[in-house]
Symmetry: none
Subunit: 83 residues, 4 copies
DNA sequence: TAGGGCTACTTCCATC
DNA sequence: GATGGAAGTAGCCCTA
């Protein structure tokens, strides 16, 4: 490989690394923002764990959720933990 | 709880949920962007797995510097050499 | 500190480190065993996620469980996600 | 599903749950033992925080050796020097 | 489907 | 004794 070609490859690599690291920083910022919102909600008296559950339920497809609950009921019944 | 109070709580909850969901969307966008950059790098001939490793090593180096300082502080404290 | 005293301290430290590392190995073995059981259950057709949920529910105090569910219901109602 | 089949499933589920719960008890015992050792070390005059750090550094060193080999393999592969 | 990285939960320690 | 913060652990998801 010629020096010129090597240099091009190096510059490209450098560029990719920088772009990725930049994006990962942004991602971290957002993650921190989310954490802040949860903290704020907690300060207002909401239960973080339950709030997380709400978010996750809304993300889940409604059908899938019902199915999960149905399976859970089934297992609990099998264990005699439900009336 | 009065109806008015309940309504306030509902509005707050709704607001928190919306803010979180908005931020998670943004986060997903960034994640997708990162994926795109890796794909582009692959198209240019770079090995994604190695590229990931490079990124992770650079992150580790940064962390490790902080870590080293933390250890030093810890030992100095343990030896009663810090206030 | 005399050499003898230092040596005692070193031996003690060494001993503590060894005892802890030994215990942590045992702990890891158990963790792996647990993972194996889940894998086996999966192979028999059980849904791991639900199985985990069952285990965790059984661990929770019954009262606490009801309370958590009550809070969740409350939130879901507030968001109009129930009936 | 026939009653007999259901019963088999129930027995299996029960068995899995019991095995997991048993193992988690053992795991908790070990965790408590570890806590005891730290407490004992503290009683002998050692700084728990520093002790934890020592343990974690020793673990890291071990991991890092493996990591270094993994990186080497990765690079060799990327350069087409491994099959 | 297995492995690794990321995220989240829990636990522990220190402070008030 | 409680609360907040940090660290270690475990679960989930995504990629290969």
């Amino acid at each position: 490989m010629s020096n010129a070609t090597e240099e091009v490859a190096q510059d490209q690599l450098r560029s990719f690394v920088e772009r990725i690291e930049r994006l990962e920083e942004e991602k971290k910022t957002i993650s921190d923002d989310i954490k802040d919102v949860y903290a704020e909600a907690k300060g207002t008296g909401f239960d973080i764990k339950v709030l997380r559950k709400v978010i996750s339920l809304r993300k889940q497809d409604a059908n899938e959720r019902q199915e999960q609950e149905a399976i859970l009921d089934l297992y609990l019944q099998a264990l005699g933990m439900m009336n």
